[in-house]
Amino acid sequence: MSRVLVLASKEFKSYFNSWLAYVFIACFVTVSMLAHFYWGEFFGTGRADISPFFRSLPLTLLILVPGLTMRQWARESEMGSIELLMTLPAQGWQLVLGKFLGTLGLVAVALLCTAGIPLTAAWLGDLDWGPVLAGYLAALLLGGAYVALGLFASSWFREQFLALIGSAALCSLFGLMSWPKVLGWASNISETAVSVLGFVGFYGRFEAIQRGVIDFRDVAWYLSITALFLFFNVCRLHLRRLA
């Protein structure tokens, strides 16, 4: 386990070494504030309601997380440092988990930096903190799932730009599958399609948790997708040795 943490903290720090972390956090906070105060017309509603912010999170994470994961495995392949990494006395799962936690750590920091939004709401009015905490939990679970998907996609590419496209495509597939618009189109085809998309996709489950309804099945679904793609990533590393 200590190797996992050593790798995770190195990955976390190296985001900050390359300024990527600052840009990521700045974009994340800016988009969230715009979504909340400007497009969400927070001041117009006259209520201490921060649901515009949470409604924007699935899209913000979907756009920004692939920018973090693209540099992981693809960059190691590009630089050749994957050779050193894979000849360290570490199991494949330790490497994958280390990279996952390092990246998720940065997502968590970015989420923490948006704390100004609920704090403003609490200062102006009477904010119900239960749904806020649930919303952050949902965002972290969703972020984790995107990181796992993005890392897996990144492991198939040698160039970071292709890894970005690959990560974004895979994350969008899961992220947008149960978007209300998509479900609307699917309802023209069949009811089964709607229920399958609604089950597999991330959006509906995020909605539920963010409203404060923490259903064990929703949490378990995010965790399973995350674990599944981390496992695929480990398999991918083993496949590399055979290539």
Binding site: S2, V6, K10, M79, L84, T87, P89, A90, R241
Partner: protein
């Protein structure tokens, strides 16, 4: 200690290594030489467990590397050919991180770090960012990383590339020093390096082993140059008849003189016998000297003919 048992590695339709076998015992320094693309780097990648061979296996003290890479990797220090180091890290952060990933911690980590840094002469550049280092410095950081955890086995892919002549000598001395109690496999293009550093040379040509011999054998310590005047056409036959002669190779023949390379059977000194033969036959002995072949000659013979050099 290391047993490479008939490994083959295929990249798509290209067979990079075919049926390669050799073994290395503790304390040996092996020089892996051969033309570009001969399979040296692939062989090293297989020994370190980075690649799994399509056929055959590598055993380290009896354990199959492909089945339990981590067990082997704990004992191996590896410098890959491309010497990849994260450009945004400082030298010290990088080495500390590598040490921790290899399970070093506390005072042992500090102790090993200061040893490696001193041995590779990079003490003055610990706080430099890797991006700003010259190629030679980067190479020395790569070597420091490989010896950091005091491994039994060192696999160094072109360790002296990018170094200036003084640094090359320092790194060679370091490798020789490490080779006293460690097993070292290094690859290089500089054949004189193998002559000076290694105890044994493995020459790989076209993915197979062309030469596997001790350096002193390869260089033919006791092979003689023999040049006489006033000798007949049967000189070569007469030389071959001398006891202890393995092989006689006619070299250039000038107007009156004939020159031969005389290879003895294992370790025999032929000089007295050749001298007596010359006296007996009334030849004028012009030269009787040790013929140190260079490794370049061996290399050329093995690569041009594709056959096995003597």
């Amino acid at each position: 200690m290391i047993e490479v048992q008939s490994i083959s590695k295929r990249y798509g339709s290209f067979l990079a290594v075919r049926d390669l076998s050799f073994s290395v015992s503790r304390g040996e320094i092996i020089g892996l030489v051969g033309p570009n693309g001969a399979g040296k780097t692939t062989t090293m990648k297989i020994i370190t467990g980075y690649l799994v061979p399509n056929d055959g296996r590598v055993l380290i003290d009896g354990g199959d590397v492909a089945l339990d890479p981590v067990k082997a990797q704990e004992r191996i220090g590896y410098l890959p050919e491309s010497n990849p180091i994260y450009p945004e890290m400082s030298v010290q952060d990088y080495l500390l991180w590598m040490g921790k990933m290899r399970g070093l911690k506390g005072s042992r980590l500090v102790e090993r770090l200061s040893y490696a840094v001193k041995a590779c002469d990079i003490e003055g550049r610990l706080t430099s960012t890797v991006r700003t280092l010259s190629k030679g410095l980067r190479q020395r950081v790569g070597i420091a990383q490989a010896i950091l955890h005091d491994p039994d086995i060192l696999i160094l892919d072109e360790p002296t590339s990018g170094l200036d002549p003084n640094q090359i000598i320092e790194i060679r001395d370091l490798i020789r020093d490490l080779g006293r109690d460690k097993t070292v496999i290094l690859s290089t293009h500089i054949l004189s390096e193998v002559e000076e550093t290694c105890s044994r040379a493995l020459m790989i040509v076209g993915g197979t082993l062309a030469v596997d011999d001790r350096i002193d054998h390869l260089l033919g310590d006791r092979t003689l140059h023999f040049r006489v005047a006033k000798a007949g056409d049967d000189t070569a036959e007469l030389l071959r008849a001398v006891e202890g002669v393995e092989e006689v190779r006619p070299l250039d023949a000038a107007k009156d003189t004939r020159r031969f390379l005389v290879v003895p059977k294992d370790g025999i000194d032929l000089a007295p016998a050749l001298f007596h033969l010359a006296v007996e036959r009334g030849w004028e002995l012009l030269e009787l000297s040790p013929a140190r072949r260079s490794l370049e000659d061996v290399f050329r013979e093995a690569t041009v003919s594709g056959g096995v050099a003597s």
